[in-house]
């Protein structure tokens, strides 16, 4: 006869590890997540490659920002990242799974943190693959369109400081919009509302900035709107003339994501599931 196994003491550390393991299991067993990650990579690389294939540089000083051109696909890939962030928590609200989750892990902050960690890991890996793929495709395509060293465009390389910043920044951009999605769905508890709200926030402000003809307003909009500010990290030319600096811009997006997560955490604590 075996003596009944005493469950190991639930130290906070172990609880956190279990919560993380649980979230990882839930994340990897939903086929939709894998499809979205694949979609993120394919959309980013395909749109980036298509943009690189159509961008030409007929003469020296044509003003083409090669790394930014290569990473144009992030604009489209971010949609998959947002949906992934939303679904990481959103699916549980649909199925009622969230009640089981919260019963198993009483610390609601720990649940949200575990979800954020799992999501971050997945998006960082997929984002890195997508960005690397985009840069590689552009490295092959751009010289054929006149972006040659002779025209002032050396081959794209991560050894180049600004290019590295654009690449790392783009991966972080994808991560931050995914976290924005996670925060939004925890705050609204509805996948549909969260997706609509986040995409609206990302897309409407840049469209608005185009209409507002006052340069001061335009500048301010591009400084606070999450998408234009966050994508400033992709710029490698004339960064001093941007409405907001590359890292500062990504910081603005990080603030949006942090605010959404804080709001989500507050709602998660305050309300029944």
């Amino acid at each position: 006869m075996h003596p009944p196994a005493t469950p190991p003491a639930r130290t906070p550390r172990r609880a956190a590890r279990l919560a993380l393991a649980a979230e990882w299991t839930k994340f990897r067993t939903d086929a939709t997540h894998a499809r979205l990650l694949l979609g993120l990579v394919l959309l980013t690389v395909a749109v980036g490659a298509a943009t690189a294939a159509t961008t030409t540089c007929p003469d020296p000083g044509c003003g083409v920002d090669a790394p930014r051109t290569a990473l144009t696909g992030v604009l489209v890939g971010q949609v998959a990242a947002v949906v992934l962030g939303v679904l990481t928590a959103g699916s549980e609200y649909h199925t009622g799974m969230i009640r089981t989750t919260l019963a198993a892990v009483p610390s609601r902050s720990a649940v949200l943190a575990a979800k954020a960690l799992v999501l971050s890991g997945a998006v960082l890996v997929a984002g890195a693959v997508a960005v690397a793929g985009s840069l590689f495709a552009a490295r092959l395509l751009l010289p054929g369109n006149g972006l040659t060293p002779a025209n002032g465009h050396p081959a794209l390389s991560l050894a180049d400081g600004p290019t590295l910043r654009a690449a790392v920044g783009s991966v972080l951009y994808l991560l931050l919009v995914a976290l924005l999605g996670l925060g939004a769905v925890t705050a609204t508890r509805s996948s549909a509302a969260a997706t609509g709200a986040v995409l609206g926030l990302l897309f409407v402000l840049p469209a608005l900035a185009r209409v507002v003809a006052d340069p001061d307003w335009q500048r301010h909009l591009q400084q606070v709107a999450p998408m234009p500010a966050g994508l400033a990290v992709q710029a490698t030319l004339d960064t001093a003339r941007l409405p907001i600096g590359p890292w500062a811009g990504l910081g603005v997006l990080a603030l949006w994501a942090a605010a959404a997560l804080a709001l989500g955490r507050a709602v998660l604590h305050a309300r029944d599931a």
């Binding site: 949906v83 996948s191 549909a192 609509g196 469209a207 507002v212 003809a213 006052d214």
Partner: protein, 533 residues
């Protein structure tokens, strides 16, 4: 079957209106279109200039700025003038003005116009910089005559004949063999009209390192003797009406319009319009005016254009009607949430099994949902646009931005089109919801598919060709229905997506979006009949 479909519609309507979140979101969509539109038009113009643009006989905003040597003539008659040269002043140096490239649509010609007010009805035959002789009337009409820019050795002979309210334009290489280019009936032309010679020039394209820009240009037309004949001949006893016979010098040059009849056989110089309009500009130190070349004729100098206002750089910071509709993007996102919800909520709650059990003809279900949503979105979009357009226009004007007026029919198309645009995109979102059965991916696909190509195409990140291609084949083509300013081949601007010009005509663009929605809905119908709930 009809009653079954009716019951189905009724059931769907009940489901829709009893979800408080959806009702709030639909109301939110309406408010979002208005609020975002108002924010978009709230900035104050840092360079306030003109706040109103002249309006032509068709109700459209026009540029009507030119240097005019004219006289008031009653009844029927004919004016014949050879144009001996069309050149341009592009830079003002220490030695005075220097010639430069001529704008492709620089004009030197003859015109019959109701009066000197901007926007009044007219008909003109004119030599142009690069497009030969043109017959143009009432700002939007254009026909080509003889090719070639006039020179002293190869002049372009121009002739206008008025008969009642009909004006006919002719051109000729030698002043003897005439070809009719066009005829126009101008019902608004009074019995006594202003007839004479004019010169004007819009800005010209200039390629810079970063793309195509516009540079100021001022046109100078050299005219031979102007001959009046028919009923216009010999007014005030002048012999044969030929200006060449009159003596005594010059009108004002560099100093603006001549003040009145100045002994040049009754001809007067005027600048029509206080400035060169949205599409033209005078160089510093170069003003419009004219010079008498003794018996030989006139030299007339001017900048501006006589044509409908078009968008892009030629609008010079003015606004368009659709600028007030920038909130459509927000409304679209909100309605997509409701539309996909109509599809996916049933799957989530298992209600779909009951719904399908209650309606054996399950293929009709997506159609019923689509009809209902389309009607709702049409209503919301049209109502929001009907308020946003006049409000945003007044709001823009109050903040110092001129808004290019459009004919009533165009404004109606833009307003109704916004409703149709939202209706088609709601149906697309619904169909994607039925196909994917999960809300978040469906909304993302619908909103992303509509807005991302638009953002990519208008951001300037892509070359113009790729941008136009995107706006031809993706659902974003539908935004063309909101384009209010025309694409006129005879008016120069940069007709690119970044300046608000879509490659497809408004209704063709909407048809592309509608086709996407229809195909997606068809796929949903097929799939819902095949698969289990």
């Amino acid at each position: 079957m009809a009653s079954e479909f009716g019951r189905m519609l009724r059931a769907e309507w009940t489901k829709l209106r009893t979800v408080p979140g959806w009702v709030a979101t639909v109301a939110g969509a309406l408010l979002a279109v208005l609020a975002v539109g108002l924010v978009g038009t709230a900035a104050t113009n840092p360079n306030p200039g003109r706040t109103e643009l002249p309006v032509g006989p068709g109700g459209e905003a026009v540029n009507d700025s030119f240097s005019f040597v004219h006289r008031a003539l009653s009844g029927d008659g004919t004016l014949t003038v050879p144009v001996l040269g069309l050149t341009s002043v592009n830079a003002q140096g220490p030695q005075g003005s220097s010639p430069g490239p001529t704008a492709e649509w620089a004009k030197a010609g003859i015109i019959v116009k109701a009066g000197l007010d901007q926007g009044s009805t007219y008909a003109a035959v004119t030599a142009t910089g690069d497009h030969g002789v043109r017959w143009q009337y009432d700002y939007t009409h254009d026909a080509a005559g003889r090719p070639g820019r006039p020179t002293a050795t190869a002049p372009q002979w121009l002739r206008l004949t008025r008969t009642g309210d009909t004006v006919t334009g002719y051109d000729s290489a030698d002043g003897e063999h005439w070809t009719r280019i066009g005829t126009a009936r101008l019902p608004g032309l009074p019995r006594t009209a202003q007839v004479g010679l004019f010169a004007t020039s819009p800005e010209r394209a200039e390629d810079t390192g970063t793309g195509t820009g516009l540079a100021p240009a001022v046109a100078t037309g050299r005219f031979g003797p102007a001959v009046l004949s028919g009923g216009w001949a010999a007014p005030a006893g002048a012999d044969g009406g030929s200006v060449g016979d009159a003596s005594d010098g010059s009108g004002s040059d560099g100093g603006g319009p001549g003040g009145g009849p100045d002994g040049t056989g009754g001809w007067t110089g005027s600048l029509v319009g206080a400035d060169a309009g949205t599409s033209g500009s005078y160089l510093p130190g170069v003003a419009g005016g004219y010079t008498r070349e003794g018996a030989a004729g006139f030299t007339v100098t001017g900048a501006g254009d006589i044509a409908a206002v078009v968008g892009g750089p030629a609008l010079a910071g003015g606004r368009t009607v659709e600028n007030a509709l920038v909130g459509t993007f927000a409304g679209l996102a909100a309605l997509a949430v409701v539309a996909t919800g109509c599809a996916t909520a049933e799957y989530r709650r298992g209600l779909i099994a009951l719904t399908l059990a209650a309606s054996p003809r399950r293929g009709l279900l997506p159609v019923a949902k689509a009809l209902l949503l389309a009607a709702l979105a049409l209503l919301v979009g049209t109502a929001a646009a009907a308020v946003a357009v006049p409000l945003g226009t007044a709001w823009s004007t109050a903040h110092g931005f001129p808004v290019a007026a459009v004919p009533g029919a165009v404004e109606l198309r833009v307003v109704l089109g916004t409703g149709l645009l939202l209706a088609a995109s709601s149906v697309l979102a619904l169909a994607l919801g039925l196909l994917l059965r999960r809300a978040a991916p469906a909304i993302a696909a619908a909103v992303g598919g509509l807005v991302l190509p638009y953002l990519l195409a208008t951001s300037g990140a892509l070359p113009v060709g790729a941008s136009e291609w995107l706006l031809r084949v993706t659902p974003a083509a539908g935004f063309a229905i909101q384009q209010s300013l025309p694409r006129l081949p005879q008016v120069f601007t940069l007709y690119t997506p970044a300046s608000g010009y879509y490659p497809l005509s408004p209704w063709a663009g909407l048809a592309v979006l509608t086709a996407w929605a229809a195909v997606a809905l068809l796929a949903a119908v097929v799939l819902i009949r095949r698969r289990d709930a």
